[in-house]
Amino acid sequence: MIVAAVPFALWLAAKAVVTLGLMLGVVLVVIWAELKWSAHIQSRVGPWYVGGRYGWLHPIAEALKFLQKEDLVPEAADDKVFRLAPYVMLAGTIATFAIIPIGPTVVARDLDIGIFYLLAISSLSTLGVLMAGWSSANKYSLIGGVRAGAQLIAYELPLILALVAVAIQAGTLSLNGIVAAQTETLFTIGGFDVALPFALSGQFIGFVVFIIASLAELNRTPFDLPLAESELTMGYVTEYSGLRFSMFFLGEYAGVVAMAAVISTVYLGGYWMPGISDDALDWLGPFILVGKIFFIVFLYIWFRWTWPRIREDQLQRMAWKWLIPLTLFNIMATATLKVVL
């Protein structure tokens, strides 16, 4: 019986390695994209010239800079929790990639309860952030951690409620099922079957709310209060340096890619594109998905470098007074239309 489990374990390890490798590759490109686009938007010179042309060496220079720094643990810090926090944060983010379908037949695991798993596993990152904020023994870190906690509690709700409406419209919780639901023909114009992704067919409110709430969930500008360099140094990552800091850095960008992948899959039709035959989708699908991911990532970066940070009370008011009622209305409308149509 134990021997019978070996192929399963090998298969599992292979899937984990491939998922991790893909994720890290895309994350590195996203970091480079952030450097480049921020340079274009704010006239920063570094990313234009490092390495001679196109600033191609800049992300590598950044990585080397982090690697050579000393791995410090403050004397008053809670050693074990402090060391463990980056891993917990990163684990919660990376686990998301397990259920993203990158092609009609390519998915690490098509879970029956995909969306539910997604929401459950992403709460691990919150835990990592709170651990980092508390264990650093630094008032800036603590305030950053508390802010992150309050923000994540407030914005988890619109996120979940927006996905509830998607689940109602698609009639399934599985991400593969949701993509399949978006490929169904809605109407026909002159013999041409038109199928629309959910962002264009009934879930527009949910799509906008999800993008706003995901910005808050990722602690990105205009919701970067937990990090707020100008008032809290760097929030809950203040005391981290060297490799552990770069794990938080990596976790942040992995979170960006994960969220963008979820939005692309749930609202923009995932690997699917109209006019491409099912055979071609098998190998074109991943590229289409990456294209959609980069569209969302571009929006995130654009928001970050052009908008100022909002205030804590504005942030809370927006979640509780605007986004949550809007998503509740969206659920009601979706459910009504689902029954009527």
Partner: protein, 187 residues
């Protein structure tokens, strides 16, 4: 009657090895939750214990229940615990006030031991030799939904009503109406 399976059979199953590792980790974490003298550490050990119970549900093929445990307990309850500890007082290091006198500790140990024997005995008596269904039914989640909203719809509604009442009650207790002067200031 209780232990019809031999040791050799038990060791031959991979699931049992996984279960053993999980069980040891959970028992260790559960003991540390009550013995550690730091509130935040206690909450974090609780995460390990709850994560272990979610993993055992996964082992039994109950995916939905497993992720519900993760979402509700780790994602909501523990995060609220930590959040609450952090905004009231977040002591680093160890607190001496958390220790109880010896007789309370012995009493608590006896009570929890008795509870363990009671539940363990009842479980073994009821399900001792029943095998866990080997094949995992992929439609189990929709089965759960179906049974909640068809067969058990009335208990479900009653439970939601009780929860709603508790929620409103909590707001009423925590809410402090502004006094007349404060009302004037606000206006």
């Amino acid at each position: 009657m209780f232990f019809a399976v031999t040791v050799g059979d038990w060791l031959g199953e991979v699931e049992n090895w996984v279960f053993a590792v999980l069980a040891i980790a959970m028992v260790y974490a559960a003991i540390r939750v009550v013995t550690t003298k730091n509130v935040v550490h206690a909450a974090l050990f609780l995460v390990i214990a709850l994560g272990g119970s979610a993993a055992i549900f996964l082992l039994l093929g109950a995916e939905f229940v497993a992720w519900t445990v993760v979402m509700v307990y780790i994602g909501a309850v523990i995060v609220l615990f930590l959040f609450g500890i952090m905004i009231t007082r977040a002591p680093l290091g160890y607190e001496t006030k958390l220790s109880h006198p010896r007789r309370v500790r012995i009493g608590a140990a006896l009570a929890s031991g008795a509870l363990f024997l009671l539940i363990g005995g009842a479980m073994l008596d009821a399900f001792g030799d029943d095998p866990v269904p080997a094949a995992i039914d992929p439609t189990r989640t929709s089965d759960i939904g179906q049974s909640i909203f068809e067969r058990f719809v009335i208990p479900f509604e009653v439970v939601s009503f009780v929860l709603l009442a508790a929620l409103i009650g909590g707001i009423v207790i925590a809410r402090q109406d502004p006094t007349v002067e404060e009302e004037e200031v606000l206006q």
